[in-house]
């Protein structure tokens, strides 16, 4: 570019071809001009792509706000400070862990060779000049989301210490390995690899698997090791309650605020995963992704709400509309569309959303049956939703859209394989392998990890603290101090009296002057 700027195309051409014929000269001018254009376009594209990733990263970061508010609203008032601080720490500790090791393990030193590696090995501490910083920023926001998923499930009964340990470990090591497998060009499941598993690789556009399912499985392991909150499934003497105690959240507005913030953030999470907005194709893919994300979320909410309303109506005879089910259905829809968002048609997004709503309800009921206590229902949302998302990508991915988004359409969604008359199981098989891999890896690492923490007494708080609430025991007092109305009104009585006197005086004065 710089050369072209300093020297006109004409000058550079005539310099080269002083004695050339006209045709050559014209060709050269044309080439030079095309080159200059390409350089200019390249310059703009690079800027644009950085901008796009910063935009998307900022929106994904906004999901931290969403998780924080959702968790805070869904638990009891006495632990609200605690869970808010965790969510803040996810961004902070998680961010640093991802800086130190996470990014390096996930993407460090990847190359274009078809080798399968287990883990990356370069760019610890962002060292080295070969890191695309806006890409790092975008990936950092993803990594933080993983550990936030777990925060809700284990809220109200986990020690700060335990939380910090596992959160750093998860973001710094466990998640990067899975992200490497799915998304690094050296990952065995990555379709960007030249020779991925079964020559297909898994389709996970924005992370139903590596992000959400992984978070969900970790949450499940944690919930199993931790045990339920006091008074949830057992009475004070440890006897199993016939009907489990519901522990409702303390503030619906916060929960809904969180839900909206998450949905908003998802418009960075999913469309941002094109990593580029500087080509027509990238733009088209991002546009489709935005539409699918919207539709799946909407369908998930509607299906979860009406289904729960219907079943409840059969039992209680009154139509009630449950807010928590609705918003969790919505989130499950979002989680589920995350993997297939770039490769399915819009009608399929609606179907995926509807099924996600049902999957969530089933998962939630199942957990209660199994007496696994999830304070904010994050396991059904992220684990079940993530699993369904990976499967759905194996079922509904269309050849045209795969071609557009991934540049390959050899193995397509099972329903479309049927349409081709082949019934080839490759893609759906790879997706299942992906699910098994995430499940196996996370369980194998995290269960012993939590178990050890528990053995060393760093996981669960003592019952007395649990009763009193973490805010008072560990965070210098309650999260809310809203004095009683009456007291304020009392204090203001004297004020009002003085006001009336002032007004009366003024009126008299006015009357006097008239």
């Amino acid at each position: 570019m710089s050369e072209i700027e300093s020297l006109s195309v004409f000058e550079s051409c005539t310099a080269q071809y002083t004695t050339a014929e006209l045709d050559n000269l014209l060709q050269c001018i044309s080439d030079g001009s095309a080159e200059a254009t390409a350089a200019a376009a390249q310059d703009i594209s690079t800027g644009l792509d950085h901008f796009y990733l910063i935009y998307a990263g900022a929106l994904v970061f906004f999901m931290q706000l969403g998780f924080a508010m959702l968790c805070a609203g869904s638990i009891r008032a006495k632990n609200v400070k605690n869970v808010l601080l965790w969510n803040l720490m996810d961004s902070c500790g998680g961010g640093l862990a991802f800086w130190v090791t996470g990014y390096a393990f996930a993407y460090g030193g990847e190359d274009d060779s078809p080798t399968w590696t287990f883990i990356g090995y370069k760019n610890f501490f962002l060292m080295g000049d070969d890191v695309n910083l806006s890409y790092w920023f975008f990936q950092f926001a993803f990594a933080c989301a993983v550990s936030s998923i777990v925060a809700g499930t284990i809220a109200e009964r986990t020690q700060m210490k335990g939380y910090l340990f596992y959160s750093l470990f998860l973001v710094g090591f466990v998640y990067p390995v899975v992200a490497h497998a799915f998304w690094s060009t050296n990952g065995f499941l990555a379709n960007t690899n030249a020779e991925p598993l079964w020559n297909s690789g898994a389709i996970d556009f924005a992370g139903s698997g590596p992000v959400h399912m992984l978070g969900g499985v970790t949450a499940l392991m944690a919930a199993i090791v931790l045990g339920p909150r006091l008074g949830r499934f057992h009475d004070d003497d440890g006897q199993i309650l016939e009907v489990p105690n519901d522990i409702p959240g303390h503030s619906t507005p916060l929960a809904i605020l969180g839900t909206f913030a998450l949905w908003f953030g998802w418009y960075g999470f999913n469309p941002g995963s094109t990593f580029s907005a500087s080509t027509a194709v990238a733009g088209e893919v991002a546009a489709l992704v935005a539409v699918n994300t919207t539709l799946a979320a909407a369908a998930g909410a509607i299906s979860a709400m009406f289904t729960s309303t219907y079943f409840n109506y059969r039992i209680e005879g009154v139509h009630t509309y449950d807010v928590a089910y609705t918003m969790n259905g919505l989130l499950t829809g979002l989680v589920a569309i995350t993997a297939p968002c770039a490769s399915v048609d819009s009608w399929a997004a609606v179907v995926i959303g509807i099924v996600a709503g049902w999957a969530y309800l089933a998962g939630s009921k199942l957990l209660v049956k199994l007496r696994i206590d999830d304070a904010v229902d994050a396991i059904p949302v992220h684990l079940v939703g993530g699993m369904w998302g990976l499967i759905a990508a194996g079922l509904f991915s269309t050849p045209e859209l795969l071609e557009k988004a991934y540049g390959q359409s050899e193995h397509v969604g099972w329903f479309y394989e049927w349409g081709r008359g082949s019934g080839n199981f490759t893609l759906i098989g790879t997706q299942l392998i992906g699910i098994l891999f995430i499940f196996g890896w996370t369980t194998a690492i995290m269960y012993p990890f939590f178990w050890l923490l528990n053995v060393f007494g760093s996981l669960r708080v003592d019952p007395m603290e649990e009763h009193a609430g973490m805010d008072i025991s560990r965070h210098n007092g309650s999260g809310y101090i809203i004095e009683k109305q009456d007291k304020l009104l009392d204090a203001s009585t004297s004020l009002h009296q003085r006001r009336s006197i002032a007004l009366a005086l003024k009126t008299t004065e006015k009357a006097a002057t008239e």
Binding site: A34, T279, A286, A287, V291, A298, T320, I472
Partner: protein
């Protein structure tokens, strides 16, 4: 390129390669990608307004109906998405042979490229906004079923017809055709009329049919109260949160309506929109609040500053500038905002006089100021800016050309059309709902609050930990460490 051009014909070759310098390199691709990104950004911001409406409404109602109103806002977004997807988008922008309604592209089946998809996404966010405006007005007394019926109906049919007539190139009031109505067509850049007035008019009809909340204008026995009872908002923090989110979202709503950014005209338009939006909001807020303070202090003798005046004034200013944000100068935006603040103030008082109960004052904000916004274009539109924004320059605002009433007239026609259409369709619709007994909740449920009666309990449970538990903990700690005193 070298394949298709015959090099032996020097003239033809140079003509080709010079005339198409960008095709070869993919710069055209940059344009499309950039425009898509712009709409993605703007659409996401407009979507965020859903959160704003939810917070604003939730803060403005009484504590006992919080869950209900939030769920309604959430379902607006969801039901709206599905309604607009299945039918609405086709009715709005589908190809058609008539000026009234589109007839193809349902469930975006015609979409094949990025611009189609991102167009749908952006327009969906608008449709959802139109639907959610009503939620606040009918809060605390409207049944869930009725609400769902109406929000689907609005996004799937009523709103799309308005969109088709004003924004699609086939519409009879549209500005985007070769021969627009009276040479200019209706100028409603981002939807003061199309979005806000439609939503506001629906809210008005709903409020009239539904009647006021119990205890607002009438006592237990149905006698008119001398002074209407004001139900104070239960959480100002949520209200202001909502206001700020809405204002933030408006930076997608207005600048985003340029629909493209990769050319100088669109870029200039979007930049202007950001500025006028800011100024109108600021002026609306300041005007409404201080005007109220002055009026109030003449009665009570003490100066007080009303929060709901301030924030509704700001929203009024935002709604008012929405139609004209791309065609008025910054100073005119200030005037529009100032008048918008006053319009809000007086219309709000008028509604109370008429005993129409609007739980969050959405009617004065969206209906009255939407109307003012559409009129304001007819007064302040600037010829040069119209050109940049892609409108016909045949006629401009009345204040800029005192002899030319054409644009103002067109704007009035637009208002009449929107009001007429919405009233004609929604009045029977709501009356039918009412007649069928699925519109208003029963009085006992209203008294108790919708959260307990329909949503399994209250929205808040701020119960702190048991005092005995806390004391026990502190005692144990004190004995363990010997340093802490029992508080």
């Amino acid at each position: 390129m070298s394949d298709t051009v015959d090099f032996s014909d020097a003239d033809a070759f140079t003509a080709y390669c010079v005339a198409n310098p960008l095709d070869a390199s993919g710069a055209v691709c940059v344009i499309e990608g950039l425009d898509t990104f712009f709409l993605l950004f703007a659409g996401a911001l407009v979507f965020m307004m859903q959160a704003g409406f939810a917070m604003l409404c939730a803060g403005s109602v009484r504590q006992k109906n919080v869950k209900n109103i939030m769920l309604k806002n959430l379902l607006d977004a969801c039901g709206g998405a599905l309604g607009f997807y299945t039918l609405g988008y086709g009715f709005s922008y589908g190809a058609s042979n008539n000026a009234f309604i589109g007839t193809s592209d349902f469930a975006i089946t015609d979409a094949s490229s990025g611009p189609d998809y991102i167009g749908f996404f952006f327009q969906f966010a608008f449709a959802a906004t139109a639907a959610t405006i009503v939620a606040g007005t009918v809060a605390e007394r409207c049944k869930m079923t009725a609400y769902l019926c109406y929000s689907f109906f609005l996004t799937a049919f009523v709103y799309p017809v308005v969109v088709h007539s004003i924004w699609s190139s086939d519409g009879f009031l549209t500005a985007f055709t070769d021969e627009p109505f009276r040479g200019v067509g209706m100028i409603d850049f981002a939807g003061s009329g199309v979005v806000h007035m439609t939503g506001g008019a629906t809210a008005l009809v709903a409020a009239i049919v539904l009647g006021p909340r119990r205890g607002r204008f009438y006592d237990e026995d149905g006698n008119v109260l001398e002074t209407p009872v004001t139900f104070p908002a239960h959480s100002v923090a949520l209200q202001i949160l909502g206001t700020f989110i809405l204002w933030f979202g408006w930076y997608g709503f207005n600048p985003g309506s340029a629909l493209a950014i990769a050319n100088p005209d669109s870029a200039a338009t979007a930049a202007l929109c950001a500025v006028t939006t800011t100024l109108a909001a600021a002026c609306g807020c300041v005007t409404a609040m201080f005007f109220d303070s002055v009026m109030d202090s003449r009665v009570t003798g003490e100066v007080s500053y009303d929060l709901s005046m301030a924030m509704n004034g700001a929203l009024g200013g935002l709604v008012a500038i929405t139609a004209g944000c791309s065609v008025v100068k910054p100073w005119a935006a200030c005037v529009i905002g100032i008048v918008g603040g006053l319009v809000y103030y007086f219309f709000s008082k008028l509604l109370i006089k008429l005993k129409i109960d609007d739980a969050v004052d959405a009617i004065p904000v969206h209906f009255a100021n939407g109307m003012w916004g559409v009129i304001a274009v007819g007064l302040f539109a600037d010829k040069d800016l119209q050109g940049i924004a892609g409108y016909s320059q045949a006629h401009q605002g009345w204040f800029n050309d005192f002899g030319d009433l054409n644009l103002l007239l067109v704007q009035f026609c637009g208002i009449c059309w929107i009001c007429g259409w919405v009233f004609a369709v929604m009045t029977p619709f709501f009356m039918l709902l009412n007649f069928a007994g699925i519109f208003r909740v029963d009085p006992l449920e209203e008294e108790v609050g919708l959260d307990i009666s329909h949503h399994r309990g209250t929205a808040y449970d701020l119960e702190p930990a048991k005092q005995t538990d806390v004391e026990e903990l502190m005692e144990v700690r004190a004995s363990r460490h010997g340093k802490v005193e029992v508080p």
